[in-house]
Symmetry: D2
Subunit: 355 residues, 4 copies
């Protein structure tokens, strides 16, 4: 039983392989009558695509979405919204020397084992290119949510060991958007850039952590006991390529605290209930409580490095190889819109579920 | 749309409120012909229930499972297995002074808002007592999995700031089982006990981290791109009460590493493919690769503390209160069988999905 | 992958075997705050149970429902409503002489093949006793729907060849309720009773057709293109034991008509849109149009007859046998509340889906 | 919550509007390694498309499928198979005079009410053109099933009052395929053609009944108690445009029989268990028993007739109109491949579920 769909009322199903004709998706359950903002959609795609700064892969995907259904005269019909983004810059030849190898920490081996074939070049379905469909659907979800005053923003809080002080509250979103590493702090941003440049020179790669903040969610979203809001957010984040961990609110640090410190005491002002602190990350008992929702997502270093590595091939022979191809030394900045998109899909799904 | 079921081929639905007649569940999709090991099941329930050491709540639930269907002459029929565990020791009076309060970092407020009522005393559906149903179902899943040589074990790696060296490989499972804090290292175990005793005296509470290791899973479990094995494990863990974070393999630490160090290179011995390191945590591209699967789950400190706190009541008035009731200063050791149970349900679900 | 649940937002899962401890169910997705009418519920159970007239099985099930969860102080909590009805009158000995036989047109053979065991005596899960859970859940759905002025009523339109004129519009519901064959016409009712008495004497059985009318459904329920309202009603009906066919509106007769006759032309009165005829059965394009919804459900004759039959046993030997046990010569009248219940569950599910 | 997907392990989601760019679908859960037979696929599309005989709509859709994903070097990858069929012959102008009318027994009114818009011209999503996606997916399912010796064939058993003797067992499939009305009997076929020609001249339309026979299904498919094989077949058929009824095996006629006549007694020959009669239609207790599965599907007359009709428009005004557009006087022959396709999808889904 396959697993290419996510969501219960708003359901995204994605399809397409990295070196096939296109990456696409079907978004079902999206309400009728919403006007599509194509500029916003393109901006989101551009945030994700490679080739925008010297720190990312040289692969140039001039990503444009083509809608196949569900929209008429620029308005949603309430029927499934199908869309594709063509794969225009496929260089399968980069993969020729790899096609019989199980690359370390890639999915070559597990995919070959599970599906009984070597799949398409370039990772096929397991390539991060699949996330382009998530960004299209996420942009549509964001457009719905902002009409309900819900806003979702992510930024990078760490690259390797360069860490932005987690306590930061006043995010300079404009700077984050300009920064090639999506970090809102100029000083830390600069350090991150330097670090990635060094890693790049060494032919190596690095990981990092993305934080996402969701503002404007009213009390009441989330469906205990299994579809708790943070559980569905967690699953959505963990489904993104290269993600190794998820924590919300106080997260792993919360495990070190004592209860009297960690408890978010309630206050009330002008009939609005709030909490004085927000270690709960805006979610209590699996249900949003009206405060900001925030969480962190850890990304591993990309497995493609331009250093010699040893692995085995399909015949079980030990082989040395050096990756060619075009790959990012650090995917974390490009992952920010993907994180936001998956968050938007989960929040909109629960918004519609609670309706 | 409610969320009281988990799994796609093996589906657990739980029901029951902490101060109602019982907690129960229905496990559908469990194959016919499996002989039930009642001793093992009772042992699992006993590992979860409070009152076993001086470190836990004095609430005495002599938990016994009663099967209502799906089993005949001690063998599963292939039909839904319904079961209940009676709630025998309900002291609602403990909650009398709280019934109009929104306790900090509890779900009182969000539940009242979402369901339009104050629910039952003792947290109703949001109480950790609900996890008893997960342990029953998890025990059945473990019994199925062990026939396929899959074994799942958890232990505590941290309580507050007392941390077991994460690198530990040779787990002394017997000691962990004996230890009142489920920690396999006698020295660290002792420190944890001391720390909880101190916290208890102070009327406070503490959190911690549970690690879980799954041995014997062959290559091939997990369904990209959304139902990746670690994504479903993550959701299942995050659905457990008080959980704040999930990481697998290298986890958040992996985000600090470089690719050349983090990559798990493949080797082969007697036709068996393995990786020299296991930062992948036994999962690559969302599919198990045959290595041990391991992950960490962070628990926040329980919100019930015997210190004076300020909050608001349903009328919006600010109130001071001190919790009475019977609560654990640290639920982390008791959470170990719950973590294992949810892992067993996810692994068995994917085992049947991949079949 | 098992199939013991039905519905998407309102989900009924049933469990229990006919000769096990109980038949039960879990109804998830039922809104909070609904007051339960226990008298109505018991009336519904009594309509279904055998032993009420000389025409039905002598099996005496004094069916009482016991709620395990989801209700507090007689009001629904919004959490899963679990319930059981105990099996009090199990006479397994009736089945002793059958236990190795594959009874003709029963599910003995297919169940034995599929589940690899002979199951429990009395049909286990395939027994019509399972429908008691549907009636409990259906009664709860009816109680919700009547608050929204939706009413569901069934009656018998044929037993064997005794057929009530299908065009009948003015149903005498009170008479139908009194009639032991649930037929609203005294004359036809009398003929049906006579026919069943004769069939009974002959040790044979007969089938029949139940019609169901749903009043008060506003325009808008149903989810094309697959979850059309009549498609979900059809599936629900076909899931009832012994059902062989389903038709709505003009049904099979509609296939013989010409379009100009079959078309339901629209009219309007005081801003209310209606159709002059209703061959559409209240559903157009899979969506309710505000007119009465009506459909027919065909039941086969029960396979248990007190005549000598030939079949094979598990060893593949040809055997002659005569059924003992307690069985109805005609289950159709008792099926009326089951048909209504399944209709109520489908309508409420779509009511909540469209919300 | 929308309803554009069907199936549990093999899931078909369709998208597209009749006058949009294309009709398409995503088929998820289809196993890897199956070689696609494009000729067979095109034949299936050709069987469904209009314009093949003088009895059908003049709309010329030169339907060609374009695969977007899931297939590489003509073999399935195990990933979602997305496909589209372009809409090449859209004449929206035919609908200009209708665009403000609620056409009788069409879905104009219910769609406008539910989705809050008038949708696209030509019925949008509710058009029978949507079934082209079902035929593509159904062809892929048939290709899988025939490898397992399962064959699905439909034919027309009635048009209006012209009825083929239901008992017919020896179907002349070749003749049925040649017959413009898909009827295997030359004499009856001729009568049907004459009848449709007369109806056509009158500007009217007619309905009919399709029978489908499935050969080669082994014992064991079907998932009681809700996902019984015939219940899922019934839902799939009822989801097809214009369908009013479904019956399997003895169907509505079975309701008139007595049990001793209706029971299918078992026999055994060379270790193969069979039944002497097959009133059960190959399904007992919701599970296939190894005999032929057969069922009937009733289609209403198409609502578009070239006679003057009265209806109301969106302003609630009464209007007279005569349809222009291009429509079939009888869609039943063209529905045969759609019925077969939906059957193939259900059987393959249950085949994979039972695996």
């Amino acid at each position: 039983m396959a697993g290419n769909s996510i969501g219960k009322v708003l359901v995204l199903s994605t399809f397409g392989e990295s070196h096939g004709a296109c990456i696409g998706g079907v978004l079902d359950g999206y309400p009728a009558g919403v006007i599509i903002d194509h500029n916003h959609l393109q901006t989101e795609l551009d945030r994700r695509r490679p080739g925008r700064s010297h720190l990312t892969s040289a692969r140039q995907e001039n990503d444009k979405v083509e809608f196949l259904s569900g929209i008429y005269k620029n308005k949603t019909l309430g029927s499934p919204i199908a869309f594709i983004v063509h794969n225009t810059d496929k260089k399968s030849s980069d993969y020729d020397n790899l096609k019989d190898l199980y690359r370390p920490s890639h999915s070559d081996y597990t995919y070959a084992f599970k599906y009984g074939h070597s799949g398409m070049p370039g990772g096929g379905r397991s390539s991060a290119r699949e996330t382009v469909a998530r960004v299209v659907a996420g942009a549509l979800a964001k457009q719905f949510l902002r009409k309900h005053n819900i806003f979702i923003n992510g930024f990078v809080i760490s690259i390797g060991n360069i860490v932005l002080d987690k306590k930061t509250n006043n995010i300079d979103w404009k700077y984050a958007e300009k920064s090639p590493v999506c970090c809102p702090d100029p000083e830390v941003s600069e350090k991150m850039i330097k670090y990635i440049e060094r890693i790049m020179e060494e032919g190596d790669s690095t990981g990092g952590v993305v934080r996402c903040i969701i503002k404007g969610v009213a009390c009441g979203l989330g469906e205990p006991v299994f579809d708790k809001l943070h559980a569905d957010l967690g699953k959505a984040m963990l489904s993104i390529n290269a993600v190794k961990g998820f924590e919300y609110g106080s997260g792993f640090d919360g495990a070190k605290m004592v209860g009297s410190e960690h408890n978010d005491t309630f206050g009330i002002e002008k009939d609005v209930i709030y909490t004085h602190t927000n270690y709960s990350g805006g979610i209590q008992g699996g249900i949003s409580n009206g405060m900001d929702i925030y969480f962190n997502v850890a990304f591993k270093p990309t497995p493609t490095v331009k250093k010699e590595q040893t692995t085995i091939n399909k015949k079980g022979q030990t082989k040395k190889f050096i990756a060619k191809g075009r790959h990012d030394p650090c995917v974390v900045p490009r992952a920010v819109p993907v994180v936001e998109s998956m968050a938007a899909l989960v929040i909109m799904d629960h918004f519609l579920r609670a309706d």
